[in-house]
């Protein structure tokens, strides 16, 4: 097995899907010659040509809208939004069109497409290159929302997303692009199903729910907690929508305690749905309040280093929350 980075896994997934299915194409800003500002599409323009790796106009709304049209015609677009922070101009097309197409046409028309976007903070990007946007989409029936936390899943989930007959919002923790490495077999095809969350660490004292970069930190914190004698179960939510309530509830029913971590703002964040799911479905098993450790309710991650660190959850903060919850 070979260890590769998260971004390389994503690149490989696209490369393989472009090779496999000629209906697949990539469209976005700077995805062509430049190979993407994060180099996620590097080499693909040269390999597949400018008709299948398309440098779009600087217009997110139409990157998605044009993608939808192509999907209706039978293509399989992979739309890249350069930063998740810039997905809002396309919000109408995603929420009004892509998400509702199948339902509103009673299944006559479907939109098989992937919208990829790097998200998340901690990279000195300031307010507009650090945002988490998952909660907006994990509330929209018709969409699937996927966030990988490691190279294996990233590759396997992205390949599944390309083959999925629905619109999939695929959010990539950009801080982990080069930081997160992992073994990914290069000689076999990897497909990770969209839908199920994954228990990434078994434990008995409490359940820690996270995804993306925060899942990476969660494992680190759980490791430290183990050294202190606290046995943490970690669940990588990875498909955020539709919600995998079963895996969430199964874990809490076992441990009796739940800690949810994300870097997005607390209020109305994805953690609220996880907490609500637990409050309804595992009430009699709960031994403690359901705890959320999330980004604070300020507009976004500030640029200046001390303020950025104040905003971001990290392994230390997670460990502290684990300790408190374990002691309840």
């Amino acid at each position: 097995m070979t260890e590769i980075t998260l971004v390389e896994a994503i690149r490989q997934a696209m490369d393989e899907e472009l090779a496999r299915d000629e209906r697949v194409f990539i469209v976005g800003e700077d995805v062509g010659k430049r190979g993407g500002v994060f180099r996620a599409t590097v080499g693909l323009f040269e390999k597949y040509g400018e008709e299948r790796v398309i440098d779009s106009p600087l217009a997110e709304l139409s990157i998605v809208g044009v993608g939808i049209g192509a999907a209706l015609y039978g293509m399989r677009p992979i739309c890249e939004i350069q930063f998740a922070d810039f997905i809002y101009p396309a919000f109408n097309q995603i929420v009004s069109e892509a998400a509702k197409m199948c339902y509103r046409s009673n299944g006559e028309w479907t939109v098989p497409m992937v919208i990829r976007a790097p998200y998340g903070g901690g990279i000195g990007g300031g307010l507009y290159h650090s945002q988490s946007v998952e909660a907006f989409f994990a509330h929209v029936p018709g969409l699937k929302v996927v966030i990988p936390s490691n190279p294996y899943d990233a590759k396997g989930l992205l390949k599944s997303a390309v083959r999925d007959p629905n619109p999939v919002i695929f959010l990539e923790p950009k801080k982990g692009y080069r930081l997160i490495r992992g073994e990914v077999p290069q000689d076999e095809e990897i497909l990770v199903p969209i839908g199920p969350a994954r228990v990434s660490r078994q434990g008995s004292d409490l359940s820690l729910f996270a995804y993306g970069m925060m899942h990476y930190y969660a494992l680190q914190a759980a490791q430290k907690a183990a050294e202190e004698g606290i046995d943490v179960e970690v669940v990588d939510l990875r498909t955020l929508y539709p919600v995998d309530r079963e895996t969430i509830l199964t874990s809490v029913r076992k441990t009796g305690k739940a800690l949810i971590v994300h870097e997005d703002n607390l209020s109305g964040g994805y953690g609220a749905e996880v907490a609500a799911t637990i409050a309804e479905g595992a009430f009699t098993d709960l031994d403690a309040p359901v705890r959320r450790l999330c980004g604070p309710d300020v507009p976004a991650v500030p640029f200046s280093h001390p303020m950025q660190e104040w905003f971001m959850p990290n392994p230390q903060k997670i460990l502290q929350a684990i300790r408190e919850l374990a002691a309840f």
């Binding site: 139409s62 044009v66 069109e97």
Partner: protein, 327 residues
């Protein structure tokens, strides 16, 4: 492309049928039999002229809610319209999920549109992109109202089609109003076709009351698009003769005199005169058409009235493609 006499009469027939269906919808609404109607009266010539320049069933269409006549030309059936007005299960656009006149007809390559104006335009551009990628010779038509050209959405779609030289024809049905707002409050250019010059594609303005003039303009645009010469923007100038919808009261914002004045350019009238002038449309022929239309409309209403509503639980699907049921 010169049109045969037969085709010219058929085009008139389509306009007439659309008009009679549309009028019946207003009657049904007054009778309390339907909850909502949004009308295409006054816009039939532009739609029929456009449709007849397409290879119907081969080319693709992303229409908007006033396009009843266009839809009929593409094979949408009167009874399907009536089913949709009544929210009946068999209605092909959405199985009763969408409001009436929110078209979709897979068998005719008509993609589903929402109520959010102008969103269909980037879909058309995407279809055009796919056609070009596949090296096919299809074209795609997107239509919208003049007010909707104020949406950035529309601009982006046209811009993209122009940059990539895609086989898309954008039809702006300029009926002078967006609900109550007159066209002067939407644009600082005298004609929606002028928008084209900032976008690098051909812009053509045509008298939307004259079905043959519209057809001519579209035939040229379609030919260019089909042969890889890129998109065209066509503005058909017309007038919205009815209120915006059955919920609207247009007396609050325009005078009866203004409306009456424009009725003189009613496309049914204008094209009847043309065909009479050319000796094609006789009184008896017209009578025959009228009675055929009446019969079709009656039958459509009857059929739809007896058709079942969807079951409540059908609302639960298909949220995802995996849930699509074929029955």
């Amino acid at each position: 492309m010169t049109l045969s006499d037969e085709t010219r009469l058929e085009m008139y027939w389509m306009m007439l049928l659309s008009r009679r269906l549309d009028e019946r919808a207003w009657v049904l609404h007054r009778q309390g039999k339907i909850a909502f109607h949004i009308s295409g009266i006054g816009q039939e010539a532009a739609q029929v002229g456009a449709a007849y320049a397409l290879r119907r069933g081969y080319d693709w269409v992303a229409p908007y809610y006033r396009d009843l006549a266009l839809m009929l030309c593409l094979g949408y059936e009167p009874r399907e319209f009536m089913l949709s007005l009544m929210g009946k299960r068999e209605e092909p656009s959405s199985g009763g999920r969408q409001m009436p006149s929110h078209w979709s007809l897979r068998r005719a390559n008509v993609v589903s549109h929402s109520a959010v104006v102008a969103t269909q335009c980037s879909h058309a551009t995407g279809i055009g992109l796919a056609i070009k990628m596949r090296r096919e010779d299809k074209v795609v038509l997107a239509s919208l109202g003049e007010g909707s050209t104020s949406q950035g959405e529309w601009y982006e779609a046209v811009n993209w089609a122009a940059v990539h030289q895609l086989p898309v024809i954008f039809l702006v049905e300029n009926n002078q109003y967006a609900i109550s707002v007159p066209v002067e409050k939407q644009m600082a250019v005298p004609s929606a076709a002028d928008r084209a010059c900032g976008l690098g594609l051909r812009g053509v303005a045509v008298d939307g009351s004259d079905v043959f003039a519209v057809h001519q303009a579209f035939t040229e645009a379609v030919e260019l698009a089909r042969s890889g010469k890129g998109p065209t923007l066509i503005e058909a100038k017309m007038y919205r003769i009815t209120p915006h919808s059955s919920d609207d009261d247009d007396r609050t914002y325009r005078s009866r005199e203004e409306v009456e004045e424009h009725k003189k350019r009613d496309p049914l009238l204008v094209n009847r005169r043309i065909l009479e002038r050319d000796g094609l449309l006789t009184a008896s022929r017209l009578e025959e058409m009228e009675s055929r239309a009446k019969k079709m409309v009656d039958e459509a209403v009857q059929y739809a009235e007896q058709a079942p509503y969807p079951a409540a639980e059908e609302a639960a699907y298909p949220v995802y493609a995996e849930e699509v049921r074929h029955d």
